[in-house]
C-alpha cells in the first residue's frame, strides 16, 4: 500500500490505528489510580464542598503522549518504507550473487544488499530472478520476491572459487531483456569475467556492486622458512590506499601461536609478515590466517611439508640384542622431540616418504633407492664407523682415506680432540661447544679445496669432522664419527642434539607428494574448510581424492579445501594457488558501479518502533508523576524536577561500579595486617558460596585448634585484586573454566614466584573413572599459561603429611583422589613450599560449614572422613605458612619409636592406635 512517499509492506497492521479512539475513551474513564491515604479527620474533610465532581482524569498531555505512542507502534508494525525517487519504475529484477569463497569476507553486506533489492521488488510487485554460480539452470527462473528472500536467507558462501564461465552460460540461456540486472559481486576478478559481463548486459540496465577495497579478501602467497622464523607473503586484490591487518599463526587446536602485522603501502599489492619463532613452535603451526578477512581463501593450511619432519632411521634387522648401545638409539633419542621418527629397514621407511633418512654406519646401504631419495630432495645424514673406514662408498660428501685415525690411544702421541669454533658459513654457527668433548677416532677426509668448502665442522687441529654435499635436489651430510659414543662422546653431549636440530631445518619439503603410491590408498578428507574458513568435519558430499590426482584436483563441492590424509601423511588443499593473479574487479563498461552499504536504509519501521518503545518506557515514569507519587521523592531530595530526573538516570548506573571497586581495593590492603584465607572467585555463585563457607569452616577449625588465627576469608579475582597477602589461594576449577586473562596470568605468576601457593581443586575425583587419562580441560586452560613446575604425587615423606597432624590421605568430599605437588621439595626461595597443589577431592565440600551444620554430606570412603579432611586443611595452611620448618627432623625420633611400637602390637588393636596416633601428633607443636 502506498501513501504519498510512504509505502507500507504490511498495511493490515495499520488497522491497529482503529484502536486509538478506544484507547482515548478508556484513558478518559480510567483516571490514574488514586493514592490511598489514611486520614483521621475525614469527617471534617467530608464537610468540605468539592467543586468538581470528575476531578483529575488523565491529564490531556499524557493522553496525547500515549496516543502518539500507540500510533507510532502501529505504524511501525506496518513496515513503512520511504520510496526512493529512482525506484518508481517497476521492472523485474535479476540478482546475480557471487557466493564463492571470495564473497565470504563480505557476505553479510551482500545478503543485506540482496534483501534490500528483494524488498524493493516486493514493494513494486515485480518478479525476481535469483542466480548464483551453483544454482541449477532448470530451477532458475523469475519467482515471487518472498521466495527469493527465503532462498537468499538460507544461502551461505561456498568454499569454492566462483565459476563465472558456468554462470555466463546459464545467463545466456535465460531471457531477461526488460529486467534490471544487479551483480552482487565479490569484488575479485576472474578469468571469465568478460563473458559474464556480456551475458548480463542484455538486461535493461546493469548495476555492479562490489565491496570497498579496504574489505576485499586477502590471500596468502609464498611461505618461507628463514633462520629464526617464518616469512609469509600476503596479497590484496587492489593497491588503493594503506591497509594493515594482523596475520596469525594457529596450532592444530586453533590457538594462536604467533601474530604479526602486515602493512600494504599504497600502490603495492603484496606485503610480508615475519614471525620469529623457535623451531619447536614453528613445527606446531598448522595454519595462517589474515585476521580481518574471514574467508576460506585467506587461510594457508600447512601440511607435512611444514611442521614436524618425518625422519627414517635405518636399522639393521638384528640390531635388537643390545638396544641401548646401538647407533640408531642415539640418533633417534636426539631427534624424537623435534620430528616424527620411524625406525626400520629401507624397505620399511621409503614408503613413508620421509624427508630425512639417518643412516648409521652399521646399517649402511648404498642401494639405488637411497640415491633416488637424495636426488629427489631427501636429506641423508650419515655417520662414520668401522665399515666406512674399511671401505668407502659413493654416498659421501668428500673422499675419505681408508683406515681412519685414532687419537689419544695407547699407541698414539695425539690427545683426543675437541671441536673448533664453527665457521660462519656452517649451519652450526653459533652453537656452544662444551669443553669436555673428546673425539677419539674419526675417518679422515682427503685434503683439498673441495673438502674445505664442504666442511661444516672441524676438530681443533683442523681435520674435518662434519662434511656435506648437495646431490641432485637433496643433500648428504656425513659425521666423521659414529652415531654412538664409541668414537667420541659427542652423542652423549647436548651439542649432538643441537646439531641434529639445525640439520632438520635443512630438510626440504617432505617428499610426501613425490612418492605417492597406489598401495597407500586415496587421499581421504580429514578436516575441510567451510566458506568462512573454519575447519569442519567433512560433510557427506565430500569424496576422497585419487592417490595420484592430488596436484591436479579442482576444488569443488565434492573436493573442498582442507586437510587430506593418506596413511601417515597429510596434505593440505588450499584454494589459492597463484596469489599473484589475484586482482580486483577492474573497469566494467556500460555498468553502474556502487559499493555495498552505499544505498541508504529507508525502512522506517525500526526507527519508529524504537521511538515508540522508548516512549513506553518514559510513560512508566510519567504515569508515576501524573498520579503524584513523585512528590515524596522530590521533597526528600529538595531538588528541582530536572535535577531529580538526571539523578535518577545517572545515579543508578554509576553508583554500583566505580565506588565499589575503589572501596574493595582498599579493603584488600588491610589484609596485610591480618591473616585471611583466600579463595578464587569463579563467577559461579554456588561454587563461590561453597568456597567461602569452606574457608570460614577451615578458619574456625584453625582458630579452635592451632595458633593460626585467621580473622576471616576473602574471595579474590586474580586479575584485579592484590594476591600477595594470602598464604594460599583455594581455586575450585570447573571443566568449563575459561582461560586466564593476561593480567591474571601475570598476577598469578608473580604470586607463585613470590612464594604463594595455589591449591587447584578439580572437584571431580568422584567421577574420574569417567575421564581416565584425559586431562581436565578447565585446569589445562588455566595452567597452560602459568609457570607450573614439574609435579609428582605427594611422596610419603612430604611436609604436607606432617606439618601438624600425621596424615597419609588428603580427603575432601572424596578420599581417594590423587594429589600432586612440586617435584622439587627444596626450592630455596619458596622455603620448600610447593607453588601449586593439585587435587580433585573437593575439599571445599568437606570444609564448608554453615549455621553450625556442615554444608554437604560427604562420601564415606574412609572412617571419620570429615575429621580427616579438616586435618588435611590444617596441615595445608600450616604447610603454606610454615614451609619446610616442619621438615626438620625434630620429630624423627619420636616417629621412629612410634612406628616400632605399632609394628609390635597385634593387628586387632590397629584401629585404636590409628586414632591415637593422629590425635597425639596434634600436640607436637
Amino acid at each position: 500500500m502506498t501513501l504519498g512517499p510512504l509505502t507500507f509492506l504490511a498495511p493490515l497492521a495499520l488497522l491497529g490505528l482503529l484502536s486509538l479512539p478506544l484507547i482515548w475513551w478508556l484513558l478518559r474513564i480510567t483516571p490514574p489510580k488514586p493514592i490511598q491515604q489514611i486520614f483521621p479527620p475525614l469527617r471534617i474533610l467530608k464537610e468540605v464542598e468539592t467543586e468538581e465532581e470528575t476531578p483529575n482524569s488523565t491529564p490531556l498531555w499524557l493522553l496525547i503522549f500515549r496516543l502518539i505512542m500507540v500510533a507510532l507502534i502501529a505504524i511501525s508494525l506496518a513496515q513503512p518504507f520511504l520510496t526512493r525517487p529512482e525506484g518508481i519504475e517497476s521492472r523485474p529484477v535479476v540478482l546475480v550473487v557471487d557466493n564463492g569463497w571470495d564473497a565470504a569476507a563480505n557476505w553479510p553486506k551482500i545478503t543485506k544488499e540482496a534483501e534490500n533489492r528483494i524488498a524493493d521488488a516486493r514493494r513494486k510487485d515485480v518478479k525476481v530472478l535469483l542466480l548464483t554460480p551453483d544454482s541449477k539452470l532448470e530451477e532458475a527462473g523469475f519467482e515471487d520476491p518472498s521466495d527469493a528472500l527465503r532462498k537468499i536467507k538460507s544461502m551461505s558462501p561456498r568454499p569454492e572459487p566462483n565459476r563465472p564461465a558456468d554462470l555466463a552460460k546459464k545467463l545466456t540461456e535465460l531471457e531477461f531483456a526488460d529486467a534490471d540486472v544487479y551483480w552482487l559481486s565479490s569484488g575479485i576478478q576472474t578469468e571469465a569475467q568478460q563473458d559474464l559481463v556480456e551475458a548480463m548486459s542484455k538486461g535493461h540496465s546493469l548495476n555492479v556492486l562490489s565491496p570497498t577495497s579496504a574489505v576485499l579478501p586477502l590471500v596468502p602467497g609464498e611461505l618461507e622458512e628463514i633462520a629464526d622464523g617464518l616469512r609469509t607473503e600476503w596479497h590484496r586484490p587492489d593497491s588503493n590506499g594503506l591497509r594493515s591487518t594482523d596475520v596469525t599463526a594457529h596450532g592444530k587446536d586453533g590457538r594462536i601461536i604467533s601474530r604479526a602485522t602486515i602493512s600494504f603501502s599504497p600502490g603495492q599489492t603484496s606485503a610480508e609478515a615475519v614471525m620469529k619463532l623457535p623451531t619447536e613452535l614453528r613445527s606446531q603451526i598448522a595454519a595462517f590466517r589474515a585476521a580481518d578477512s574471514v574467508t576460506a581463501g585467506s587461510i594457508r593450511l600447512l601440511d607435512d611439508s611444514w611442521g614436524r619432519p618425518l625422519i627414517g632411521v635405518l636399522t639393521e634387522n638384528q640390531d635388537v640384542s643390545n638396544p641401548l648401545l646401538s647407533e640408531p638409539f642415539y640418533a633417534e633419542t636426539a631427534l624424537k622431540p623435534h620430528a616424527d621418527v620411524f625406525r626400520g629397514t629401507l624397505e620399511d621407511i621409503l614408503p613413508l616418504a620421509p624427508s630425512v633418512i639417518v643412516m648409521p654406519d652399521a646399517s649402511r646401504n648404498d642401494s639405488k633407492e637411497v640415491k633416488e631419495f637424495v636426488e629427489n630432495g631427501g636429506l641423508l645424514i650419515r655417520f662414520a664407523g668401522p665399515k666406512l673406514a674399511q671401505k668407502s662408498d659413493p654416498f659421501i660428501p668428500v673422499r675419505l682415506r681408508s683406515g681412519g685415525r685414532a687419537l689419544g690411544g695407547a699407541l698414539t702421541w695425539e690427545e683426543p680432540q675437541n671441536f673448533s669454533e664453527f665457521s660462519p658459513d656452517s649451519p652450526f654457527f653459533g652453537l656452544d661447544i662444551p669443553a669436555d668433548i673428546e673425539v677419539k677416532q674419526q675417518v679422515m677426509a682427503e685434503p683439498g679445496a673441495e673438502t674445505d668448502s664442504r666442511t661444516w665442522a672441524r676438530l681443533q687441529d683442523g681435520s674435518p669432522v662434519v662434511t656435506s654435499k648437495e646431490v641432485g635436489f637433496g643433500r648428504i651430510i656425513l659425521f666423521h664419527v659414529t652415531a654412538h659414543p664409541e668414537w667420541s662422546n659427542i652423542p652423549v653431549s647436548g651439542l649432538y642434539v643441537d646439531m641434529l636440530k639445525r640439520l632438520l631445518s635443512l630438510a626440504k619439503a617432505s617428499s610426501a607428494a613425490n612418492a605417492p603410491s597406489a598401495s597407500s590408498g586415496d587421499w581421504a578428507p580429514e578436516r575441510v574448510l567451510n566458506g568462512y574458513g573454519r575447519l569442519m568435519t567433512p560433510g557427506i558430499f565430500t569424496k576422497p581424492i585419487p592417490f595420484d590426482g592430488f596436484d591436479t584436483i579442482e576444488i569443488s563441492k565434492t573436493h573442498p579445501p582442507g586437510l587430506y590424509r593418506q596413511g601417515p601423511r597429510r596434505q593440505a588443499l588450499n584454494i589459492v594457488t597463484d596469489a599473484a593473479k589475484f586482482q580486483g574487479l577492474g573497469e566494467i563498461k556500460g555498468a553502474k558501479r556502487t559499493t555495498y552499504g552505499a544505498t541508504t536504509e529507508n525502512n522506517l519501521g525500526g526507527t519508529l518502533l524504537w521511538i515508540g518503545l522508548l516512549m513506553l518506557a518514559i510513560d512508566a515514569i510519567l504515569a508515576i508523576y501524573a498520579s503524584g507519587r513523585m512528590r515524596g521523592l522530590k521533597s526528600r531530595l529538595r531538588l528541582s524536577p530536572k535535577a531529580t530526573a538526571s539523578i535518577v538516570f545517572s545515579g543508578f548506573i554509576l553508583a554500583s561500579t566505580a565506588q565499589d571497586a575503589v572501596a574493595q581495593k582498599e579493603d584488600h590492603f588491610a589484609d596485610a595486617l591480618e591473616l585471611r584465607l583466600a579463595y578464587v572467585l569463579t563467577g559461579d555463585f554456588s561454587v563461590d558460596n561453597t568456597s567461602e563457607n569452606a574457608m570460614e569452616g577451615l578458619a574456625k577449625v584453625l582458630n579452635d585448634r592451632t595458633t593460626i588465627e585467621p580473622v576471616g576469608v576473602r574471595g579474590v579475582d586474580p586479575a584485579s585484586d592484590p594476591l600477595i597477602f594470602y598464604p594460599f589461594l583455594y581455586w575450585p576449577v570447573d571443566r568449563d573454566a575459561p582461560a586466564l586473562t593476561d593480567d591474571a596470568i601475570k598476577a598469578l605468576n608473580d604470586y607463585m614466584a613470590g612464594g604463594g601457593s595455589i591449591v587447584f581443586d578439580t572437584r571431580d575425583s568422584g567421577d574420574d573413572f569417567l575421564s581416565v587419562g584425559e586431562p581436565h580441560p578447565g585446569l589445562k586452560r588455566i595452567t597452560d599459561s602459568l609457570d607450573v613446575p614439574a609435579l609428582n604425587e605427594v611422596p610419603e615423606d612430604h611436609v604436607l603429611n606432617k606439618s601438624y597432624y600425621l596424615i597419609d590421605l588428603y580427603p575432601g568430599r572424596w578420599a581417594n583422589g590423587r594429589v600432586w605437588v612440586d617435584r622439587n621439595q627444596t626450592g630455596a626461595a619458596r622455603d620448600g613450599v610447593s607453588s601449586v597443589i593439585i587435587g580433585g577431592n573437593d575439599w571445599a565440600a568437606a570444609w564448608a560449614f554453615e549455621a553450625d551444620n556442615y554444608y554437604l554430606e560427604i562420601e564415606r570412603d574412609i572412617p571419620k572422613q570429615r575429621e580427616m579432611a579438616l586435618r588435611f586443611g590444617v596441615n595445608l595452611v600450616m604447610y603454606t605458612l610454615a614451609g619446610n620448618y616442619k621438615a626438620d627432623q625434630v620429630h624423627a625420633k619420636a616417629l621412629i619409636e612410634r612406628r616400632s611400637i605399632r609394628d609390635r602390637i597385634p593387628r586387632n588393636l590397629d584401629d585404636e592406635d590409628d586414632s591415637d596416633d593422629s590425635e597425639d601428633s596434634g600436640d607436637v607443636e
Binding site: I35, F39, P40, R43, L45, E52, P55, R631
Partner: protein, 294 residues
C-alpha cells in the same frame, strides 16, 4: 503480648527522659510546690493534719476540748491549737484510644496516641514524685502514689484501650482529670460527654493532640481518603486535594474553636499540642495548668 510490653517499656523510657531532662521544669515545680501540688505537703491552711500550724485565740464557737491547755497556762488567754491541713491531690488520666489516635502523617513523627501517653506518663511521674496520687480513669481501682504506683499507672496508661465508657468511671470528688484526645469527633458528641463529666465535682484539663498533617493538609492530586482502623465506611475520594485545602483548613480551625469554646464554658483549660513540636512544651503547659488551678 510481648509486643505491647515492649511498647510500654519504650513509652516509659521516653516519658522518663522527657520528665527527667528539664531542671527548669523541676525548679518551676518547686516554686509551685509550696502552694500547690506537693502532695502531703501542707496547704498552708489550718485543717485536717498532723503538723502543727498555729495557735489562735479561743473563740466561742470552739469546743472546749480544743483548747490547748499547756499553751493557755502560760498566759491569761485561751489558745486553740490548729494543725495544718494536709491532703494529697488526686489526678486522674484518661487517654483516648480510638483508631484515629494511632496514626501519624510521616515516619519522623510519633503517632498521636503515643505522644499523649508519653505526656501523661511524664506528668504522672512528676506528680507522683512529689507525692500526689494518680489513677487511670475507669481502669485503676484506686489512686496510688509512690514508685510502685507509678509502675502500675504507666503500665495502665500504655495498655489502656481508652474507651469512652471509661469517662463514666468512678472518681472521688474534687479530683483533677486530664483528658487526652484528638477531639476529632463531632463537637456535639464531645459536648454531651463533657457536660456529663461537668456534672460531677471534677476539674478537667483537655489535652488536644493534633498531627501537623491534620492541620495543614499537605496533600495534592487524586487521593482516596480512608478512616483509620477497620471501618466499613466507604473511602472518600478527593479529586484534587490541593483545591480542597483552604476549605478544609477553615473547617479544621472552626472545629478546634468549637472544642475550645465548649471547654471554656465549662471552665476547663484546653492545651493543644501538635506532634511535630517537642513534648515538653505541652508538659510545661499542663504543669502550669495544674499548679495554677490550685
Amino acid at each position: 503480648m510481648a509486643k505491647t510490653a515492649d511498647r510500654h517499656i519504650e513509652l516509659r523510657r521516653r516519658s522518663e527522659r522527657l520528665a527527667s531532662s528539664y531542671p527548669d521544669l523541676l525548679a518551676e515545680a518547686e516554686r509551685v510546690a509550696a502552694i500547690v501540688a506537693q502532695g502531703v505537703h501542707g496547704r498552708r491552711r489550718a485543717g485536717q493534719g498532723e503538723t502543727f500550724w498555729q495557735f489562735r485565740n479561743y473563740d466561742r464557737s470552739d469546743a472546749v476540748s480544743d483548747i490547748d491547755w499547756r499553751r493557755s497556762a502560760r498566759g491569761d488567754q485561751y489558745y486553740v491549737r490548729e494543725n495544718e491541713w494536709e491532703a494529697a491531690n488526686t489526678v486522674f488520666f484518661w487517654r483516648d484510644g480510638n483508631p484515629g489516635m494511632d496514626w501519624r502523617s510521616s515516619k519522623e513523627l510519633s503517632c498521636k496516641q503515643d505522644r499523649a501517653t508519653v505526656i501523661c506518663m511524664a506528668l504522672a511521674s512528676l506528680l507522683m514524685r512529689s507525692g500526689e496520687r494518680c489513677a487511670v480513669l475507669g481502669e485503676s481501682e484506686r489512686p496510688r502514689s509512690g514508685r510502685l504506683g507509678l509502675e502500675r499507672i504507666t503500665k495502665r496508661l500504655a495498655h489502656s484501650e481508652g474507651p469512652y465508657k471509661n469517662l463514666d468511671g468512678k472518681m472521688p470528688a474534687h479530683t483533677q482529670l486530664i483528658i487526652a484526645s484528638d477531639f476529632l469527633e463531632d463537637p456535639e458528641i464531645w459536648k454531651k460527654r463533657l457536660t456529663r463529666l461537668a456534672g460531677r465535682p471534677v476539674k478537667a484539663i483537655l489535652l488536644r493532640i493534633v498531627d501537623p498533617a491534620e492541620r495543614v493538609f499537605p496533600y495534592k492530586g487524586r487521593l482516596e481518603m480512608m478512616m483509620p482502623g477497620k471501618t466499613k465506611a466507604a473511602p472518600f475520594i478527593v479529586g484534587r486535594a490541593e483545591k480542597a485545602k483552604d476549605a478544609y483548613r477553615r473547617k479544621f480551625e472552626a472545629h478546634g474553636a468549637a472544642i475550645s469554646d465548649m471547654a471554656r464554658r465549662l471552665g476547663w483549660p484546653v492545651i493543644t499540642h501538635q506532634t511535630d513540636s517537642p513534648a515538653n512544651v505541652a508538659l510545661t503547659s499542663l504543669y502550669m495548668a495544674i499548679s495554677g488551678e490550685a
